[in-house]
């Protein structure tokens, strides 16, 4: 309890906790869950965008998309690295993803159906992600905070690219405008869900905020996201699919319709449109790749043995 008080005092003083420092088990566990989930999201997040790499409409767009998924895999690497400082290996985390013990962001259980979805994912999904992540650059756990700094820089670049795709389509042909609107229609509510359930239904939040693992409440961030995104949609000439959306002068933000939380819970339970495909794809990659990983390790071992023998 004394240790605990000292720990909390450090956090309150804005100090960073480092891997070798003492920390409460709950802090460690919560961080592992949160960082792991975030890492998994980067990995699974390759799939909906990877779905369009082979169908990108131009060489330039193909290159940009390739660069983006490469960044995402890189984010996965940083984050698994940060999680490893907490004493859990990448392989352990991966197996928890693959057998369903750990989650990834529900948004990636929605399909990407047209090229406009590449825009919507960048604009809305990366936009929501950034909204979540920017405050985490100041989170209490050092390795996590530093990973976030690198990630946020790239994410905001991705978000601009996504918005650019949308702009290109919004000022394009009629079919393109229709495609862009359709993408917004499908991704709007799932994006709002990315901030998690309403504060009144959100568990764990208080403790996480005290530990500065979570910096804002779900509803705060969601409001901020809506307030930022609605004018962008207007700028694009697209209609947010919410008839009750309205500026509320008093609160200085938009009133908006909450997402359908029963859908959110269905997706969490595995009933999203793509849960099965996503997990199957990752399991297949892992299983099919086993011989490669084993071959690499066997070769490395031979090399080391040869080196030792030579010395």
């Amino acid at each position: 309890p004394e240790k605990l008080a000292a720990f909390q005092a450090r956090i309150d003083a804005g100090e960073k906790i480092e891997p070798k420092d003492w920390m409460p088990e709950g802090y460690r566990k919560t961080l592992i869950r949160q960082i792991g989930q975030h890492a998994h999201s980067e990995i699974v997040g390759q799939l909906p965008e990877g779905n369009w790499i082979t169908r990108a409409p131009s060489l330039e767009r193909k290159a940009i998309l390739l660069a983006k998924v490469q960044d995402e895999a890189g984010h996965g690497l940083y984050l698994y690295g940060a999680a490893e400082t907490l004493g859990v290996s990448r392989d352990e985390l991966t197996e928890m993803l693959l057998d369903g013990r750990m989650k990834y962001s529900s948004i990636f259980n929605y399909p990407t159906l047209t090229w406009a979805d590449m825009g919507a994912v960048g604009w809305l999904v990366d936009g929501a992600a950034i909204m979540n992540q920017v405050p985490l650059q100041r989170t209490s756990y050092g390795p996590y905070a530093r990973a976030m700094v690198r990630i946020c820089k790239e994410e905001s670049f991705h978000q601009r690219q996504g918005f650019h795709i949308m702009m290109q389509m919004a000022k394009g042909t009629e079919a393109q405008r229709r495609m862009a609107q359709d993408a917004l229609d499908r991704f709007w509510y799932p994006s709002l869900m990315m901030f998690g359930p309403s504060d009144k239904d959100s568990v764990h939040s208080a403790q996480s905020m005290k530990w500065r693992i979570k910096m804002n409440t779900n509803d705060e961030l969601r409001q901020k996201f809506v307030d930022q995104t609605v004018p962008q949609a207007e700028y694009l000439g697209l209609t947010v699919p919410d008839p009750d959306l309205a500026w509320n002068e008093e609160k200085g933000g938009y009133d908006f319709t909450e997402p359908d939380w029963s859908e959110f819970h269905d997706v969490l339970r595995g009933n999203g449109p793509c849960n099965r495909e996503r997990l199957e794809a990752r399991n297949r990659a892992w299983d099919d790749g086993a011989w490669v990983r084993e071959g690499m390790m066997a070769h490395a071992a031979k090399r080391r043995a040869a080196k030792v023998a030579a010395e």
């Binding site: 990995i43 699974v44 390759q46 799939l47 965008e49 990877g50 790499i53 082979t54 169908r55 990108a56 409409p57 131009s58 060489l59 330039e60 767009r61 193909k62 290159a63 390739l66 660069a67 998924v69 490469q70 895999a73 890189g74 996965g76 690497l77 698994y80 990448r90 090229w115 795709i165 290109q168 389509m169 394009g172 042909t173 079919a175 393109q176 794809a281 990752r282 297949r284 990659a285 892992w286 099919d288 790749g289 086993a290 011989w291 490669v292 990983r293 084993e294 071959g295 690499m296 390790m297 066997a298 070769h299 490395a300 031979k302």
Partner: protein
């Protein structure tokens, strides 16, 4: 159709089709590092495609652009090697295909750096740096998996045996090559065979893999005379969107 245009299409089509194949791996690689590497190589190859096909359209007189070449030609007009249009197969097959090509690609680009055509030389100078890294990585992987476990060895040998008949096409020389060699623009592909053989044999030895005996060669990609059935399916996917919306800009 000038010989130079034809040559540039051969260059750009091979990098395009190989880049497209690598793009299919996204999110499905055996390890995160491989996901990153595959995307990275694909990205380089698409970048090189933009340069080669861009120059091709310039040479042609700027009636169309690189995207038109990539997205609006049918199978018969593609000039990529048969090797690069082969399906990904398992990771061993993808790696083997990459290595056989990278080893050729480096040798070719090194020679192209001295091209009499400055524009060709400039592209080669930029590309060769990237491709040296591709080769380093692919040959390293061939060695590691060839000399890894029994299973990985078996898979790499199977991949080599399967892809070997497509290697010879890289060294085929025809009238177009002769014309470019004459003009000092590009080396005769046949001249690259000997250094390729030396390099390949060295890597195979390290990888404990056996070079196939038959040198029977499948041809028809580079000349465009007869691609494999795989290319059409690849193009259907790659080109559908721009063909579906011919008036759109993206």
């Amino acid at each position: 159709m000038s010989a130079l245009f034809e040559f540039l299409c051969r260059q750009g089509d091979s990098t395009l089709i190989l880049g497209q194949r690598l793009g299919e791996w996204c999110g499905h690689a055996p390890a995160l590092e491989e996901d990153i590497a595959l995307a990275n190589v694909a990205l380089d190859l698409i970048g090189q495609t933009q340069m080669w096909l861009g120059l091709a359209t310039e040479v042609e007189g700027a009636v169309r652009d690189a995207d038109d070449l990539a997205m609006r030609r049918d199978v018969w007009d593609f000039r990529n090697l048969l090797l690069v249009e082969q399906p990904n197969g398992d990771f061993g097959q993808t790696t083997m295909r990459q290595w056989l090509f990278d080893q050729f690609h480096v040798l070719q680009l090194e020679r192209l750096c001295d091209s009499a055509d400055d524009r060709v030389a400039a592209i080669a100078a930029k590309a060769v740096k990237e491709v040296r890294y591709h080769l380093e990585r692919s040959s390293g992987t061939v060695i590691a998996l060839g000399d890894g476990t029994e299973e990985s060895h078996g898979r790499m040998q199977a991949a080599l045996d399967r892809l070997w008949p497509y290697a010879g096409e890289m060294f085929e020389s025809d009238a177009i090559d002769a014309e470019l060699a004459e003009a000092g623009i590009a080396p005769e592909p046949a001249d690259l065979r000997a250094p390729w053989d030396v390099a390949v044999d060295a890597t195979l030895a390290e990888a404990t893999l056996t070079r196939p005996e038959s040198d029977f060669t499948q041809t028809g990609g580079r000349s465009g005379k007869r691609h494999s059935e795989h290319l059409g399916h690849l193009l259907a996917q790659m080109q559908w969107l721009p063909r579906a919306y011919p008036d759109a800009r993206w």
